[in-house]
Point group: C2
Chain length 127, copies 2
DNA sequence: TTTGTAAATGCAATACTTTGCATATTATAC
DNA sequence: GTATAATATGCAAAGTATTGCATTTACAAA
């Protein structure tokens, strides 16, 4: 992967942002600095970053998938299917699990942002 | 959720199909039987089925997310990020892991089709 | 049955994402 | 520094997915 102004800009944006962003949100933010940039360029840059293992992409059940840098500390989410509430959980037990899968399959696991879906305690009560 | 010809048709399609299908593929198949159906109806029906826990949706790294019935036996995949090869693995260890998360968080986990990404042994060698 | 209500549908318009191709830029070898 | 090849970009067009709103349909209650 080659250095380019757009890729650099995306790095900066994803780094400053603590949240995960959709492609479109990233495009909007890139445009603030580089007003002439085309949307396809941003979409392709993101694709490239994912392919090169610089960024990862997750479907958190929202309207679109979200991106984050892999350099960020591995962390995982539990998303409530009913109310959308998101719980972030620490890496410990997930890491153990992934480690086990890795040993068993000989794949090198790259997933570093696992999303699980469920129903939160509150929504279970509401039934 | 109410019975409707389109939902029934989708059930049938997903049931017959052993694979996972994208929304568009499902739309194409529905059209064979119900030629007048609008795409938005199919997309909304799928959305509804997911929301009601009848179907689940997964991002397998392909061009679009794929759908499957939750009635199908829980199974999970490991997808190679380089060559796209897919490994299906049995439920055992994943079930244990999900059970543990469930206990710890009090969420009722609904994820029954987990997708992990990694790099397969062959692609690791190729480097 | 008939009727009332909520859910599902179709249509048209919009929003979002991807693609093909020509051009421009960057890195590497010379 | 210059040439070469590979990568990245912009533009326009196409493909895919979503939304608003009026209408129809299915279900349940009377």
């Amino acid at each position: 992967m080659r250095a380019s102004s757009i890729t650099n800009e995306i790095f900066k944006i994803l780094n400053e942002q603590d949240d995960h962003l959709t492609a479109k949100e990233i495009y909007e933010k890139v445009k603030v600095t580089l007003s002439a940039v085309d949307q396809s360029t941003v979409y392709r840059a993101l694709e490239r970053m994912v392919h090169h293992g610089k960024a990862s992409v997750s479907d958190m059940g929202g309207p679109a998938v979200v991106y984050q840098l892999v350099s960020q500390k591995p962390h995982h989410h539990l998303v409530c299917e009913k109310c959308g509430k998101q719980l972030t959980f620490k890496d410990g037990q997930v890491a153990d699990f992934l480690e086990a899968v890795q040993k068993k399959t000989n794949f090198k696991i790259t997933t570093n942002h696992l999303i699980l879906f469920g129903i939160c305690p509150e929504c279970q009560k509401k039934k």
